[in-house]
């Protein structure tokens, strides 16, 4: 199976604190890979590394034969043009209309004339079911519509790779499942490689082809959806059955937490 991304021994952290401990996995082409884990497991950090916003302490992220972590800003921008990202809060530019938001990457990276850009933007908005909302500002749209507009912007340059950061966060179940279908449409119709960071179980089992489970910066599972369901790893069983984990502090640790500055 062809691989879109290969992550090798990735170690990452901020301010002397290690957040990802030697993570290795790969993202198969044309499939949906879900990265799951509880809060603080490092899943958002890994996403930021995959889109080149952060540099790891060590390790490699290989795509199309080159190592992302070694690229300079100029080459990194070339990679960024071949991918799209939907951020958790959509991250649409509030000072621009939806149409201008979707047109932004096209205007920045191509010399197409305005009428072509307009047609492209209309097509993208139509794809996510937002035709007719082009002249609205992000603040005038609902949470679900903002996410759709964010997807339209991520799709603007027809990327091969698209990342979603907790796409269902803050949405009602119906809207969230509509978004799941849209994500599957991107895979099936446009043969895109999709990476989704999530902790929504329902959506995970609907859309994921492959699951990566992180726990406190360590990779504890890498396999298919069926294997994930059958896993006997207690942490995964707890995750699937929504059983909270007790934080086990030894008395010294607890004393340090209480008295630390």
């Amino acid at each position: 199976m062809e691989k879109a991304l290969i992550i090798k021994d990735l170690v990452a952290g901020y301010n002397n604190k290690i957040i990802l401990k030697k993570i290795s996995f790969d993202v198969p082409k044309g499939m949906i890979t879900a990265i799951v884990g509880g809060s603080g497991s490092g899943k958002s950090t890994i996403l930021k590394h995959l889109i080149g916003l952060l540099k790891p302490l060590s390790g490699e992220i290989i795509t199309k034969g080159y190592d992302l972590t070694k690229l300079d800003e100029k080459d990194l921008n070339k990679y960024r043009k071949s991918m799209g990202v939907l951020f958790q809060g959509s991250a649409l530019l509030n000072s621009l209309t939806i149409e201008e938001n979707v047109a932004l990457p096209i205007r920045e990276h191509s010399k197409l004339n305005e009428s072509t850009i307009k047609i492209m933007v209309k097509m993208k908005l139509d794809l996510v079911g937002l035709s007719g909302f082009g002249n609205f500002y992000p603040s005038q749209l609902s949470g679900g519509m903002k996410k759709r507009a964010g997807i339209a912007r991520a799709m603007a340059l027809d990327p091969e790779l698209i990342f979603f950061d907790e796409p269902q966060a803050g949405l009602d179940p119906i809207t969230a499942s509509g978004l799941d279908f849209l994500i599957m449409k991107l895979r099936d119709l446009f043969k895109m490689t999709v990476v989704v960071v999530t902790h929504e179980l329902h959506s995970l089992f609907t859309i994921a082809d492959k699951i990566i489970h992180l726990d406190k910066g360590e990779l504890i599972f890498d396999g298919t959806k069926e294997e994930f369901k059958r896993s006997e790893n207690p942490k995964i069983v707890n995750f699937i059955n929504r059983i909270p984990e007790e934080e086990n502090y030894c008395p010294e640790d607890y004393f340090n937490i209480l008295t630390a500055e």
Binding site: L53, F87, G89
Partner: protein, 268 residues
């Protein structure tokens, strides 16, 4: 005793390191702003005329009224204060010299800079800060768009053009304020006042004021946008950074004003 000395050393070390970090971050920003504003357009980079124009309207056009009103009042105050002293020696006509020279060399640029720091410097910090908090800056980067090129360069160009323009306006309106007071309350003949002002003012005075104005425009942009980019939390930090941007830009403006004034005093 040893403990408190150690604490003092640790404290001094921490403060020094954080200060050096600020210097590093600001230098990085200045470097990037310089590249995207001046170098990149020369090697075929994009010039965002639409954004520049809209920033010029926000920074310049929208400040015209407040700059005019304050400069007019300052002109009157300056004329009144000089009249208070000059009438003792019967040299009231020198109000024109005092108002003209002090406005063009000093007060015009500094009043404009303080107003612009309060209006635009704070809005730069708030705009970029809230964009940072809403991941919009990350979104720009992920689209391969450099945030400095997209957000800061148009602001920098707008400020470098509009702050000197506002300063000229402030000089003119301030002198007008002095003129109005002189011809009404002090009874100086309008023609003599104008003649005296023109004799007192030299091109050098206006130019030194404009050199200051250009540098103040640059300083306010760098300080405001620097504070915006430093936001890492939510709304509370946006507010805190906005306040610090105003305080530190006014401080930096005064420091550079001292520097330029000393420079012009000795070298012109």
């Amino acid at each position: 005793m040893q403990q408190s000395v150690e604490n003092l050393v640790v404290f001094a070390g921490k403060k020094t390191l954080s200060f050096l970090n600020i210097v590093k971050e600001i230098s990085k920003l200045i470097n990037e702003v310089f590249y995207w504003t001046f170098i990149s357009p020369m090697i075929g980079g994009k010039i965002r005329f639409k954004s520049i124009f809209s920033e010029m309207v926000k920074v310049g056009y929208n400040s015209i009224l407040i700059v005019s009103v304050i400069s007019f009042f300052v002109g009157i105050i300056l004329a009144l204060q000089s009249a208070y002293q000059l009438k003792k020696v019967g040299a009231l006509i020198y109000i024109a010299n005092l108002v003209g020279v002090s406005l063009t060399r000093e007060l015009g640029p500094i009043i404009t800079a303080i107003i612009v720091a309060g209006r635009s410097g704070s809005s730069f910090a708030a705009e970029i800060g809230s964009m940072k908090a809403a991941e919009e800056i990350d979104a720009l980067k992920s689209m391969g768009i450099n945030p400095v090129s997209y957000l800061v360069s148009p602001k920098m160009i707008a400020m470098l053009i509009m702050v000197p323009c506002l300063t000229i306006l402030s000089d003119f309106i301030g002198i007008l304020g002095g003129f109005v007071l002189a011809i009404t309350a002090v009874n100086i003949h309008p023609f003599s006042y104008i003649q005296q002002t023109l004799n007192a003012l030299m091109v050098k005075d206006v130019i030194t004021g404009l050199v200051k104005a250009i540098s103040f425009g640059g300083i306010i942009t760098i300080v405001g946008t620097y504070h915006g980019f430093q936001v890492s939390g939510g709304a509370e930090e946006v507010g805190r950074r906005t306040t610090s941007s105003v305080v530190s830009s006014i401080f930096m403006v005064i420091v550079f004003d001292l520097f330029f004034t000393a420079l012009f005093y000795y070298f012109t």
